[in-house]
């Protein structure tokens, strides 16, 4: 509503100019205020997380809204293997699992999406339907059978036990996003390359891939984020050696026994979320483009 007020056209304004200007100023300051409140509402939990993360454990429940009793101890505790926290290891695990899942899903996804967007073959709609259907399947129902299977294979505590289920939900996401991107590419260029004597494979490698690079990059970000945040499967199919960050945070031990280790958890939470927040700040446009691919016009 405020949007419309601010862009109010002078043609519709019969009031004197100063009055109109005052009203416009009031409208724009109202917009500023409401925007500021929204931004605050979105950022406050993250801010509070950081305040608590840097606060001395003895002042955990101090509600002072500024940085007080600043210390790095919580970060030390988070990484302390003496207390049974495997956070450093978990960060490495999450990176490995996230990157491997993303790369595999992208390699398969690029070809699948190319076929779905560009080639005509029987049952194309069915394939797309199955891919979407697979991504709909509730993960909860998969965990028990997977656990039995991976126990039989003695895979519990290996990376593939987490990477393979991750691919099952990252892959539909990449195929779907990339297909939407590929549908909107200028295919005349590929045809031109074919006329100039390229094979279909050459045209794909030399013309389509460079054009698709931004889309592939965007999809990679989305895929990595969803693999990085995965919790359900990781919580059941990992052990101490392969536990991911989400699992590690949920099962933290603090410096003080018998006390919920809020400060440590917030320190670990800061480490896990800050890279994602930076990623959003840098690549926001690309991420949104990926989310809206094929959606908004």
């Amino acid at each position: 509503m405020t949007a419309a007020t601010a862009t109010r056209l002078s043609a519709t304004d019969s009031a004197p100019k100063t009055k109109a200007r005052n009203r416009q100023r009031w409208a724009s300051s109202r917009t500023y205020i409401s925007a500021a409140i929204i931004v605050l509402w979105c950022l406050l939990p993250a801010y509070w997380m950081m305040v608590t993360a840097f606060r001395d454990v003895g002042y955990t429940f101090d509600a002072t809204p500024f940085f007080t009793h600043v210390t790095m101890d919580n970060f030390v505790t988070a990484f302390s293997t003496d207390l049974g926290n495997h956070f450093g290891r978990a960060l490495l695990n999450s990176l490995i699992i996230g990157i491997v899942s993303t790369v595999i899903a992208l390699v398969v996804g690029v070809f699948a999406a190319y076929a779905l967007a560009r080639l005509n073959f029987r049952g194309k709609f069915l394939v797309l339907g199955f891919i979407l259907g697979a991504s709909m399947f509730p993960g909860v129902a998969l965990v028990t059978p997977l656990f039995q299977l991976f126990t039989d294979l003695s895979w519990i505590g290996t990376y593939q036990a987490l990477i393979i289920p991750d691919i099952s939900f990252v892959l539909p996401l990449t195929v779907y996003t990339l297909t939407s991107f590929f549908r909107e590419m200028p295919w005349e260029l590929e045809e031109a390359a074919r006329i100039d004597g390229c094979t279909q494979g050459q045209a794909f490698r030399k013309v389509i891939m460079p054009l698709a690079a931004p889309a592939v990059f965007t999809t990679a970000i989305l895929a990595f984020i969803s693999a990085w945040n995965e919790y359900l499967i990781a919580s059941q199919l990992s052990n101490d050696a392969t536990q991911t960050v989400t699992v590690a945070i949920a099962s933290f031990a603090g410096a003080q026994p018998h006390q919920e280790p809020y400060t440590t958890v917030m320190a670990a939470g800061t480490i896990v979320t800050i890279p994602l927040v930076i990623m959003v700040l840098v690549f926001q446009r690309k991420i949104v483009a990926g989310l809206t691919a094929g959606a908004v016009k």
Binding site: T31, A35, C42, A141, T144, Y231, I249, V296
Partner: protein
């Protein structure tokens, strides 16, 4: 279980979409720091549910939380967010609305920005007021966007798990279909068959929603 799922899904999807639309309208203006505001609003959407759940749990804590501190300083005591099953459900809904608001906002914003400006101007010249322009021009033009957000939000909120698991580990008042399936299989009940049955119901529900999307997405309303 179905009732809880219905309340949870309707409240999270509806809340995030309505708030998201208004945020998008505010962000669509030429204000300074718009890029930053957009990123700030969008950031919660990509954060891990586990981390988000833990922070909010700390904020909602009825004794030590910031929220209880704020409520105490205005003279009321904090409600029992975690122990009261009704409030626990709304606590989780608030957090999910917070998390998904940015998603709805940025996609609505993309929709607003691809909207032809001349229609707005024409409506203004015809003497339509702010509210009238919003209802008669903006909303209809945004209907494909609204449909897309509705479907994707329905799918994601039917599968919402992490935050519920972290904030209410025992499912006290928050046993939506997916979380009940989890509790039946992995907590003390140990009823894998029942859990699988719930999962099948959920799967069918999700397929119906996806089917709706595939059926209607090709012939969505266009005004160009």
């Amino acid at each position: 279980m179905l009732g809880t799922t219905a309340i949870f899904t309707l409240a999270t999807v509806g809340g995030a979409m309505v708030l998201g639309l208004f945020v998008a309208i505010a962000l669509n203006l030429n204000v300074k720091g718009r890029g930053f505001a957009r990123s700030a609003v969008f950031a919660p959407y990509v954060l891990s549910g586990v981390g988000v759940g833990l922070v909010w749990l700390f904020i909602f804590d009825p004794v030590y939380g910031v929220l209880s501190w704020i409520l105490r300083s205005v003279g009321t005591s904090s409600p029992q967010w975690i122990n009261d099953p009704k409030l626990a459900l709304w606590m989780v809904i608030i957090v999910y609305v917070w998390k998904n608001l940015g998603y709805c906002a940025v996609i609505y914003l993309a929709g607003l920005q691809s909207m032809p400006k001349d229609l707005m101007e024409a409506a203004a010249l015809d003497g339509a007021g702010n509210f009238r322009r919003f209802v008669s021009v903006t909303l209809p033009l945004l209907s494909p966007t609204t449909f897309f957000i509705l479907i994707t939000s329905l799918l994601s909120s039917l599968q919402a798990f992490d935050i519920i698991r972290i904030m209410t580990p025992t499912g006290n008042g928050t046993s939506t279909l997916i979380f009940e399936a989890y509790l039946q299989a992995f907590s003390t009940y140990n009823r894998a068959g029942y859990s699988a049955a719930i999962s099948v119901v959920l799967f069918v529900l999700l397929l119906v929603v996806t089917g709706l999307q595939l059926r209607f997405v090709e012939r969505k309303v266009h005004y160009s």
